[in-house]
């Protein structure tokens, strides 16, 4: 814990709430940086594009058409974005269900990442809806489309955002100095985690199940009745790769906000996550082989599509799997970092293949996203990074929670809270 840092950011006892919040909105670094200039520019251009889109229709800024109803905003923002946010439920499973304390130090930042990913990417869905004001219909019951996989996705997204907010909320309570509320919110954690893992299992696979009905349109190499299972398994290693990737960046960018226990355990955490990702990728590839044989895919294994399929399966799944395994057994961080990037590209390619590239592969004219679609996607990402940076710079996310908060652990009093217990915890971590 770096007490010096946390003291400057937490609300001090007796400090009034609103002046404290106002103080928190003051910029904490220089305003004119390359990152700020580029992202603000993107967001301003996107605002104009979106204003245009809500007046003149989706066709005025996107290349969507009667043959390609879903494009980059679904294939990238939702399909890939939600898979990348899978780290939150996997880490919650490791820490709260399997009680692997080693990963405790990064649960908060991963849950925050997952929550913001859902809020921004899944909410970017609203930009893609033709009649967004009717988005409340499936919630208020006008009408319930119970036969629809999309109905399940909509409800689960909504419920899961709530679950992740509750999972993260102790950090907000610590920041604002709400001690009593903190106790209540902390007590909710395990129940929420169990609910959240269940919801994630279902909606990660449901995103794939959306394409089951598009059977005559998806290239047979990508179509399979296993799609929901493949989506679920790949969300595990997509999430792990994202945690490794952004963890490496956060460690540098937010070094001043990172607690000692995160710094100390970073290396071992990455090794553990790499091993887990490699294992999940092995399961995934095994399933791919099973469905290849089961559904006699060699009948469709020809031409450029076969080569393209191998790029995804061998180049961007099997190769990073081997790198993850070598990296974790031989302690090579370089291998693991390369593997994480390749894995992210592989999952992105897989989601885009199913939803855009190998979708209607027979169409004479194919959909290519317009520049406006790219700008809006980049602006959504920028907005998320701004909020993420604001939260990480101010709330105890990467460590540095106030001392009083440590007493509210949910493992209820199996071990008495004593000040000398922290070194003991570090010994436990070292195993």
């Amino acid at each position: 814990m770096n007490a010096a840092v946390s003291d400057a950011y937490h609300r001090r006892p007796g400090e009034r709430f609103w002046p404290f919040v106002l103080r928190q909105f003051r910029p904490s670094g220089p305003l004119v940086t390359p990152f700020n200039v580029i992202t603000v520019g993107l967001m301003l251009v996107a605002a104009v594009i979106l204003a245009w889109r809500f007046v003149y229709g989706l066709g005025s800024v996107t290349n969507l058409n009667q043959d390609f109803a879903w494009g980059l905003w679904i294939g990238f923002d939702v399909m890939a974005g939600v898979a990348f946010a899978g780290g939150a439920y996997v880490l919650c499973f490791l820490v709260y269900i399997l009680r692997m304390e080693k990963y405790h130090a990064i649960v908060r930042v991963t849950v925050l990442n997952g929550f913001l990913a859902y809020v921004f990417y899944a909410s970017a869905l609203l930009l893609d809806l033709g009649r967004p004001w009717n988005v409340v219909n499936p919630i208020i019951g006008n009408s319930f489309g119970l036969t629809s996989v999309l109905f399940l996705v909509a409800w689960h997204f909504m419920l899961y955002m709530g679950a992740e907010l509750i999972e993260f909320s102790p950090a907000i309570a610590e920041w604002g100095g709400f001690r009593k509320l903190h106790k209540v919110l902390t007590a909710l954690t395990v129940g929420t985690v169990v609910f959240g893992i269940t919801l994630s299992t279902l909606h990660q696979s449901a995103l794939g199940a959306l394409y089951l009905m598009a059977k005559p349109k998806v290239h047979p190499l990508w179509y399979s009745e296993f799609i929901p299972v493949l989506f679920f398994v790949s969300s595990i290693f997509a999430g792990m790769a994202m945690v490794i990737f952004e963890g490496g960046i956060s460690a540098k960018v937010f070094a001043d906000r990172t607690g000692d226990d995160v710094k100390r355990s970073h290396h071992r955490i990455v090794i553990g996550l790499a091993r887990l990702a490699g294992g999940a990728m092995f399961v995934y590839l095994f399933l791919q082989v099973v469905q290849f044989v089961h559904e006699a895919k060699w009948n469709h294994f020809e031409g450029g599509w076969a080569a393209w399929w191998l790029v995804e399966i061998l180049g961007l799944t099997a190769v990073p799997m081997v790198l993850f395994m070598l990296g974790s057994t031989r302690n090579r961080m370089g291998f693991i970092k390369v593997a994480a990037v390749l894995t992210l590209l592989g999952v992105l390619l897989n989601r885009l293949n199913l939803s855009v590239i190998a979708f209607k592969w027979y169409a004479p004219v194919h959909y290519v996203p317009s520049w406006q679609e790219f700008v809006v996607s980049a602006a959504v990402l920028s907005a998320e990074l701004w909020v993420f940076r604001w939260v990480v710079r101010r709330m105890p996310v990467l460590g540095g929670e106030p001392a009083w908060a440590r007493a509210h652990a949910t493992q209820p009093a199996t071990v008495p809270v004593v000040p000398g217990a922290v070194p003991a915890m570090m010994q436990a971590e070292r195993r």
């Binding site: 229709g57 869905l125 219909n137 059977k215 915890m425």
Partner: protein, 294 residues
Amino acid sequence: MDRRFFFKVVGAAAGTTLVGAAPRDAEAAATASRSADDAYGVLVDLTRCVGCRTCEVACASANGLPAPSEADDKPGAPPRATNDTQWTVVNRHDTSKGEVYAKSQCMHCIEPACAAGCLTKALFKTQEGPVVWRADKCMGCRFCMVSCPFDAPKFEYNSWNPKIQKCQMCWERAKANGLPACVENCPNEALTFGKRGELLEIARQRIYQNPGQYVSHIYGEHEAGGTAVLYISPVDFAEVGFRTDLDTTSYPETTRDFLTAVPLILTAFPAFLMGLRQATGRSAEAQDAPHSEA
């Protein structure tokens, strides 16, 4: 005991209030009680169609759509597709038996993928047969367009308040005077409106009684699990641009196992996870020091 039956039993036991099997089965039962062959449909006889495109004009005027352009069916022109301002189009095809004209529109599937996929039931299969669109429910997600094997639903990409546009089999009109506009105005009786079961009988009769005139296939009898619009043709359907690689089971069938597993996972997973947490608890208690939760 097969897998589906197992899921059904477990799903029903898991509780009927959860999203998943039970309400859908109730709905399926309601549809089954009224046989698909008892609902209305249209038979299209391609041997009788002369490509006059009266149906296109009648459709446009009956549904308040702009009049179809006359210029775009020259020989050699690529086949036109229906779009957001035209619910039906007639295309000319050069086939092994000379020119054949084929009308296309929504097929009004018995189990439509668009309606099964619609999360607000904006696309809705009526008891009478037509699949209709309901503006007050639609949020414009376009999943219907992704799921429809015939690419029937079209979207108004250039409107701030877009509608899903597709043939409604003149449902409102049919309630008043009984005939869809295209059927009523076809000068050559290429189109027949009636109950699907009767249309299948008529189609079979024409095929049997006119040897050599038709291929022995009723398109829509089994395609995509069966459609309310049926076709008979002088040439193979591939020659007139129809998809001949579609499943004979309905496309909602592809998601049935997944949806049936949902209540099972929703109830079994939390119990399993809590059990796992309990199981790991004992060893954790022995070695854990207190630690704050995230």
